[in-house]
């Protein structure tokens, strides 16, 4: 389970990036955080991963404060970044093997890696190909494979569908629902309102560091998420 409790981040230059954010993502739930660039979505992820320290509040992973016990907290979380670059001179399997070991899975076999790569929809011929020959979509699939192979209870996804073609995005959506079924707590920051609408159990909209809207699936389906989002964005522009 992921919890943000009064999570606040003010940078040294005085900019308030996050202002007392509160939310939680339960096991078997997908929480999508929508918002314009600079709204604070990535800052929220950075706080969960302890890349920065909160000014106030807590980012809890399975009730472990990520700023107080980061190493313990990170055992329970997997992360997929927006631009998965990885090691270009390594093959897909070698990349997977390295990050699996870092994630605490030292004894996986080649077949285990192949199975995960099949699961994310990577073609067989790419398994032993060098990553520098991969398209963005293929690299993104490896990024997701890395998160899957760690088998953590919680997954953080930072703009995972950005730059993916519609087919790859649809495959990704399927995968996300499968992970949800497995009981993972999934936090996804995204601009992709349609994808959010398709998979999210709850949606939050961020504006200038504040969580200005929080809706359950039933609520946002009833109210029309696109309209809600555009209304909030217009308010920002105004």
């Amino acid at each position: 389970m992921l919890q943000a409790k009064d999570l606040t981040k003010r940078y040294e230059d005085g900019h308030l990036a996050l202002d007392h954010i509160n939310f939680e993502v339960k096991a078997g739930e997908i929480f999508c955080l929508l918002g314009a660039n600079g709204a604070g979505k990535t800052t929220t992820i950075n706080l969960f991963l302890n890349f920065i320290d909160p000014t106030d509040g807590q980012a809890l992973i399975n009730e472990i404060d990520s700023s107080k016990a980061p190493l313990e907290a990170k055992k329970h979380i997997a992360y997929v970044s927006e631009n998965v670059m990885l090691y270009g001179n390594f093959t897909a399997r070698q990349n997977l093997d390295f990050f699996a070991k870092l994630g605490g899975k030292p004894n996986l076999s080649k077949e285990d890696y192949y199975a995960v790569m099949r699961q994310v929809g990577l073609q067989e011929k790419a398994f032993e190909a060098k990553l520098k020959t991969f398209s963005k979509g293929m690299r993104q699939k490896i990024g997701i494979a890395i998160a899957i192979i760690k088998d953590a209870e919680n997954i953080l996804l930072d703009e995972p569908t950005s730059g993916l073609d519609p087919k790859a995005a649809a495959e990704f959506q399927k995968l996300l629902l499968q992970l949800k079924k497995e009981g993972k707590a999934i936090f996804m920051s995204t601009h992709d309102i349609f994808r959010a609408k398709a998979v999210a159990d709850r949606v939050g909209i961020m504006k200038e560091g504040r969580l200005v809207m929080l809706r359950t699936r039933e609520q946002f389906l009833e109210e029309n998420l696109e309209t809600l989002y555009l209304d909030y964005m217009q308010e920002v522009a105004a």
């Binding site: 890349f51 920065i52 998965v84 670059m85 090691y87 001179n89 390295f98 070991k101 870092l102």
Partner: protein, 465 residues
């Protein structure tokens, strides 16, 4: 976990272009440099042997002690193959004569002036200049590239302590670098063994070589940690590369060369030419004083019943006292110069140690027997040889000048070559060499620790976003 990180760094580096460039440079430069050095050494050993034989041939039969030129030849240091140091700049021939004193000559510099002008591609050069540059090229993006391609975020999203990443980078990079270095050294040593230039498997030689290689590795490692530190202090590879190139130029070409000039400014010492002129002036003044005193003595002895015997009686204490005065005054000037020069050299050496290249150069040349201390020791040995020659042969049958009558030599006796002192110069033992270089080895260890501590502190605070 550390094993995984080291393995990843190794693989990442081994598959990179810079590894092949390093391999190529190491395999070309180290064996060729050592082979050329070995050939030059063999040629110098041959010259030394021939010179010794010719000298012995020229000293057959009976000799006039006042005309004998006692000659000392210095054998080249076998480890100059690895670190030429001062081997070509210090004299290799010493000639002690009655009239001209001690003359020192350097034929090695005359034999190969270009080697003196440009320096040799020995192991010291390859490690000090080439390897340090390659180390910076290997490490400038150690952290920044990981940040730029997002792998650092991904790695640190796991329960991975930051210091492990840093250690993984250091050991991984070093191990990658050691592969071409060790391979090249093995080829070079094989060449030495096959050509029979050096008994490389002799325990003393092996010990000396092991210490030379340890010093080299500590230096290379210092540049690796420096590179990682600079990479960790920057967020863009380009900035890190420019910073490192600047530091490399400063540490390799700046500090060691400027240190000598700075020492001359901070602790100025008069030139050797001035000292020689002052010495000549003292001798001239003493000669004048002696001429006057002996002239008085001569006047007093004229007309006495035992003229020449009386003169000799009067002469002896005058000559002795003035000789003592001359020696005292010259020694004072020379000692003053020696102490000031030693202090200046010490200061220059210590300033040059601000760069790891200073420690590498002092460490390796001390171990190779081609360092500053060896040059000083050689000069002391040459002066001792000259004193022995003066005592044992040059002064046989000599009497001082009598004013107005020129030199006065009374023939003492003929001598043979057996009576001529021999110049013996032995390389310092391994223990003695180590005593001279332990400080520099310690300093290199400290450089490693300092740079690693810098990298560690910077990496703990490194913004991976």
């Amino acid at each position: 976990m550390l094993k995984t990180l080291i393995k990843k760094e190794l693989l990442d580096n081994l598959l990179s272009l810079r590894f092949f460039i390093t391999l190529l440079l190491c395999v070309l430069l180290i064996p060729i440099g050592i082979y050329v050095g070995a050939q030059a050494y063999q040629s110098r050993v041959e010259n030394y042997r021939q010179g010794l034989a010719l000298y012995q041939d020229s000293m057959q039969g009976t000799l006039n002690p006042q005309q004998v030129e006692a000659k000392g030849l210095r054998p080249p240091s076998p480890f100059s193959i690895f670190a030429d140091g001062m081997d070509r700049s210090i004299p290799d021939e010493f000639i002690s004569t009655r009239n001209d004193g001690l003359k020192m000559q350097n034929s090695a510099a005359q034999d190969n002036p270009l080697a003196v002008l440009f320096g040799r591609v020995d192991l010291l050069f390859v490690v000090g200049v080439v390897m340090s540059l390659l180390a910076t090229l290997f490490t400038f993006d150690a952290t920044t590239r990981e940040k730029e391609r997002g792998t650092l975020r991904l790695a640190l999203a796991n329960a991975l302590p930051r210091h492990l990443i840093l250690l993984g980078k250091l050991f991984g990079h070093l191990l990658t670098f050691l592969i071409p270095f060790i391979l090249s050294m093995l080829i070079a040593l094989l060449i030495l063994a096959v050509t029979g230039t050096m008994a490389i498997f002799d325990s003393v030689n092996l010990g000396r070589l092991a210490l030379i290689l340890t010093t080299a590795l500590l230096f290379i490692s210092a540049f690796f940690t420096l590179g990682i530190m600079v990479s960790t202090l920057n967020h863009r590879s380009l900035t890190a590369q420019i910073t490192l190139l600047f530091l490399w130029v400063l540490l390799i070409f700046g500090v060691p060369r400027i240190s000598g000039m700075l020492a001359q400014i901070i602790k100025p010492v008069k030139t050797l030419q001035t000292v020689n002129l002052e010495t000549q002036l003292i001798r001239k003044n003493i000669e004048a004083e002696k001429a006057s005193a002996l002239g008085d003595a001569l006047m007093r002895s004229i007309g006495s019943s035992n003229g020449e015997d009386d003169y000799d009686k009067l002469r002896e204490p005058i000559v002795k006292a003035l000789k003592e005065k001359e020696n005292r005054e010259i020694l004072a000037i020379q000692e003053d110069y020696k102490h000031k020069k030693a202090a200046q050299t010490r200061l220059a050496a210590n300033l040059s140690r601000l760069s790891p290249l200073g420690s590498l150069t002092f460490g390796m040349t001390h171990l190779a027997g081609t360092g500053l201390d060896d040059a000083i020791r050689l000069e002391q040995r040459a002066r001792q040889f000259h004193n022995e020659a003066e005592r044992d042969i040059h002064n046989i049958g000599w009497k001082d000048m009598i004013p107005g009558k020129g030199m006065r030599m009374t023939f003492g006796r003929w001598i043979t070559f057996d009576e001529v002192p021999r110049f013996q110069h032995q390389q310092r033992s391994l223990a003695e060499s180590f005593q001279s270089c332990w400080f520099d080895i310690t300093l290199l260890i400290l450089f490693n620790l300092l740079f690693f501590a810098g990298a560690y502190v910077a990496f703990l605070r490194y913004d991976v976003r």
